[in-house]
Symmetry: C2
Subunit: 316 residues, 2 copies
């Protein structure tokens, strides 16, 4: 298996440039003072569809040869990847089908529909998702675009860290959340390609710590029964993402859901931006003192901002 | 009475430049599509202390002659102006006293304290505020900085619209909220100084519509018993702000609290930024169809982002 390279990320950046936002990097005196560091937040909550996922999906869709593309794309996802794939397909003018569990959040469902994708509902189990997707594949011949076990997706996700490094220059550390590992592995390749002086650390919810356990064990340990508010990070690593993470990532630390919610609320309150629980995970690691390096300049990937505003985790 | 001029706003811009953020102008494809216009949101929720108020307070504090400054500054305010004055005084290294009603929101109280100002508590009535402030003035000789009936404050508030016009160029319309009128009058002078082709319209909560009624009557009609969720806009116009508004503002429209809450929620959901109810008022006017001009390029001042995250108006 050829691993995703820095050149792949540069290609992805060129490919998605006409479609994706170059998101802003925000800073906060207040949060700098609180953490005794200089923080640079890469705001993928401002990305199209409200999450970094647009980068990977867009790169995958626009990488398809013409003939394959014409048969459309397909994914099974309950989250931001589904909306991202739907919008990317709409931009290329090809059909998209999304297999979604019946209990997917309304806001994400509506987003997918608003981009013109067809939704096929399944049971909220991995087995049902996969068999339903299989069925659609047989019927349509569509290209399956996995949310993270896909080289084009990984390369696309790496473009956020590439932009961060280009804009801010030398950083001591870049922090990213880890679920399936697409964002983390892409970011790690991008950072390594830009600077040999910048470490990449991952932060993961303690209630879905398969990446931490896999990293420690040296083999993939799948996540069973994840329990975390960070709904974007409940998935398991894949062979592609694990290989890159082992090679490029310095370490993985875990945070509790309480720490995630505190960090999320603080970002809203002090930075005046809306981020989803998964996006607050890296900052939670810093805030909870789980990251001990004496770092001065820290880049943080804020992965997305799609949250149910009617049910905020700190409002009881 | 000499009215605030465009030159005063340019002076203010130079004076506050070392201290204030040049806030970003954000756009949203989604909200453009919804309103059939091209919207440019000037994000004063990202300003220091979380609101445009820092601009006016900073200009007032740094305009004081050395000797007067040394005796400190004073205001009575339950809101963002208090935090803004406290931080400005801290930056100049002079004392600040804030007379605040006992029922002021905790988040605003803590902000004032965190900037090192002294809080003197009063009853939540205008009479108590004024007599308490009078008492402090006698004791300290501090300079009283009114939240809006002050030329330096008005000129400072105008710098947000000045930056918007400089950055975006020709706009057909600029929308601002109106409470005491400091932001509106400063914005109107700034816009008129930059372009003769750009109109300024104000939007006001129907439950605190003294500016609308004053504008129609041609004389100041004070607000009694304001009832609106937009807590920054419950105050009455002053002679200074009314004179400028009559001269420079094309019109005032009103919106209901339901319209304000809908607009606020939509900004959070689609733009992923935190704005306070008062800040959503101009967009509410547009969204509710209260502004009928066939406008294509519309600037909107988002006045601030200080909101109690534990009590969001759409969460029951």
């Amino acid at each position: 298996m050829d691993l995703v390279s820095f050149a792949d990320i540069r290609d992805a950046a060129r490919r998605i440039a006409p479609h994706a936002h170059r998101t802003p990097v925000l800073t906060s005196r207040n949060l700098n003072a609180l953490t005794q560091a200089e923080l640079f937040f890469k705001c993928e909550n401002f990305q199209r569809v409200g999450a970094f996922k647009f980068r990977g999906a867009c790169n995958a869709v626009f990488s398809l040869p013409e003939e394959a593309a014409s048969r459309g794309v397909l994914t099974h996802s309950s989250g931001n990847h589904a909306a991202a794939l739907a919008l990317s397909a709409q931009l290329r003018g090809i059909p998209a089908t999304v297999v979604m569990p019946a209990n997917a959040p309304g806001v994400k469902r509506r987003a997918v529909e608003s981009y013109g994708a067809r939704i096929v509902t399944c049971e909220p189990t991995l087995a049902s998702r996969e068999s339903t997707a299989e069925q659609v594949l047989k019927e349509t011949g569509a290209a399956f675009v996995h949310p993270y076990d896909n080289d084009h997706v990984i390369a696309g996700q790496g473009t956020a860290a590439l932009e961060l490094m280009e804009e801010i220059g030398e950083l001591d550390l870049v922090l990213a959340p880890v679920g399936g590992g697409g964002l983390l592995s892409g970011s790690a390749v991008a950072v390594a390609g830009c600077s040999s002086k910048t470490s990449v650390l991952a932060v993961e919810p303690a209630g879905a710590d398969d990446a931490y356990r896999s990293f420690m064990a040296g083999r993939i340990i799948p996540q069973t029964d994840p329990r975390t508010i960070a709904d974007g990070l409940r998935t398991s690593l894949s062979p592609r993402t694990f290989a890159l993470i082992r090679h490029y990532v310095a370490g993985i630390v875990t945070v509790s859901d309480d720490e995630i919610v505190s960090a999320m609320r603080l970002i809203w309150e002090r930075m005046k931006i809306v981020v989803e629980p998964s996006a607050a995970v890296p900052f939670a690691g810093l805030l909870a003192g789980k990251i001990k390096l004496p770092c001065r300049r820290v880049g943080i990937i804020l992965s997305g901002g799609n949250v149910d505003l009617d049910h905020l985790p700190w409002v009881t």
